[in-house]
Amino acid sequence: QVVKTDVCAYSGLRIYPGHGIFYVRADQKSFKFINRKSKSQFLQRLNPRKIAWTQLYRRMHKKGTMEERVGRRGGANARTTNKAVVGMTLDVIKAKRSQKPEVRAAAREAALREIKERNKAKQAAKKAEQ
């Protein structure tokens, strides 16, 4: 179950249900504050960027666990998955993956040799024509 939370307009902290003060200004802008300390500082027009304990300040000055969170997010994005590509089904890819490297190398060499021989034969045929 996810608890719906709001973000404090001043401190940037999470506001859980049942907490906070909703302040409505004359120009119809509304602000949610987590406590009266936040509201008081907001009404005193103190800039949250200059107050050390607000999230805005901490984000600006790279304090605390922000980097950790970024790292984790990047990791989640960089996860790779196996999918079937045009001529290859997932089973084929899996089979190739599980083969031993030597077997694959040998197969590749054999294929290369075959191509080379084919090319040689072609060139020989051309020379014979001339």
Binding site: G18, I21, V24, A26, Q28
Partner: protein, 103 residues
């Protein structure tokens, strides 16, 4: 208490002189008030005694979900004498959600 008038009835400020069936009025409650200052040529004039419903309140108002709502001023909307509806045609500024049940 002096309240601003948040509609185009012509009154600018009213003074609360009584509550309806309550000792204290909060958001959405109806009060009796006297018009203290009014625009010339409006629908009400100075010294008129009117009914009004409170739409904004400086004091804290607690909602059912536990949050508190607070406005920056006290304001009201004038009502007809039989409380059937507003005198004015427009309501100005933000209005508390509590008003829905009233109207």
């Amino acid at each position: 208490t002096m309240l601003k008038v948040a509609d185009n009835s012509g009154a600018k400020e009213i003074k609360c002189i009584g509550h309806v069936r309550k000792s204290v009025s909060r958001l959405g409650d109806i009060i009796r008030a006297v018009v203290k200052s009014a625009r010339a040529g409006g629908r009400v004039s100075k010294k008129d005694i009117v009914a009004a419903v409170i739409v904004r309140m400086k004091g804290r108002h607690r909602r059912d979900d536990g949050t508190t709502i607070r406005f920056h001023e006290n304001a009201a909307v004038l009502l007809k004498r039989d409380l059937s509806g507003p005198i004015a045609t427009r309501v100005l500024g933000p209005v508390a959600r509590e008003l829905r049940q009233v109207s």
